[in-house]
Assembly symmetry: C2
Homo-oligomer: 213 residues x 2
């Protein structure tokens, strides 16, 4: 394992690191101090070597013959993911979903903060929602620069998701989390993640029926 910075890290590894964080946080809360790869893997629902290999992309964090210190492993992973600092976010689409997210206190707890909100409905612009003024999308470039916003959340209806994405990209945003049930087209340097729990319900439905076929 040579210079960790230069090598390609699988997408699948990154997704699992988020799981490890979740499980390690719960272990830390319960007071577990040391854990070895196999029980940690079981708690995460993966294979033991998987964890060791995933971690190896970033360095050596374990103690041979012993295991991993929960607290310091957690710190190492959050540092590797760069989620041990503040991230500022913009939200576009102040409807039901947007408001529900603004009420979601976990953002602040994890240092992912929504600092500007936007809508294209003239009746909503100027309204104060959860302490934030709803801005017109025209003001996005200025506010993104001014507030050092790095992530955009799309919570519009599907018809307006593409327009919202384009606004974000034009404002200089390169990381987008899209809650709208629509795929969006963005330049290749922009990174998009999709959140849609109907996808998960569809998987459950299919497997349910396949299992009982």
């Amino acid at each position: 394992m040579d210079s960790h910075k230069s090598m390609h890290i699988p997408r699948a590894t990154i997704r699992r690191l988020a799981i490890y964080v979740q499980v390690l946080e719960n272990l830390a809360r319960e007071g577990t101090e040391i854990i070895s790869s196999i029980p940690l893997a079981e708690a995460c629902g993966v294979n033991g070597s998987q964890i060791r290999k995933d971690l190896a992309y970033f360095g050596e964090f374990g103690i041979r013959g012993v295991g991993y210190k929960v607290i310091s492993l957690l710190a190492a992973i959050t540092s590797a993911l760069d989620v041990d600092r503040e991230w500022k976010m913009a939200l576009i689409g102040v409807g039901n979903l947007g408001k529900a997210l603004l009420n979601h206190s976990d953002f602040r707890a994890r240092n992912f903060n929504i600092v500007s909100i936007f809508d294209c409905d003239p009746f909503k612009i100027g309204e104060i929602v959860h302490g934030l003024e709803v801005h017109c999308t025209k003001e996005m470039p200025a506010l993104v620069a001014e507030n050092k916003i790095e992530i955009g959340l799309i919570t519009t209806p599907p018809q307006r998701a593409q327009r919202a994405a384009t606004h974000l990209v034009n404002a200089g945003i390169t990381s987008i989390l899209n809650f709208a049930p629509a795929r969006i087209k963005v330049p290749s340097h922009v990174d998009v993640e999709y959140v849609d729990f109907f996808h998960h319900l569809y998987s459950l439905a299919f497997n349910h029926s396949a299992t009982r076929a």
Copy 2:
């Protein structure tokens, strides 16, 4: 492609079918009648042969030299996924998140209906939330059987997610959608999907930092 029922279908294919449904629904809404695999693939963010191969697991739905009829392909996929019928669901954990989901009208539109809700807080039991009475988890086996519930939604805090899962499994549920930020342990015949958008934020954060390193 012989008898479609018997062959193994990759998890990855099922996940993509949900994307195809989403995109086809939007195409249908915009009035597109026919689409061929390559433009459909672009709209979905995947490769053209990927779509053709995914569909081949279930049958032949295209017209050679022409493409796919949007409406009938949509019907074919929703039928293959078994999401063209009603699914009844139970929700455990009537907190902020649980209430937000109960208000989420898309469930009804897609025929995934929450028909019973549970909590272990004695102060909440008996309360009416969105037209449903909050039940004690003890009543779960009876209500699951009576209402023919097939899917369980966990919206408890992480500490109580495992207990909620165990209640669901004991009540005969074999499909669980877990919104709590904790992994749960269930027997191998039970299928669990996890929804946690912090996982997606972590991916965005990592890629953001990696790209600019």
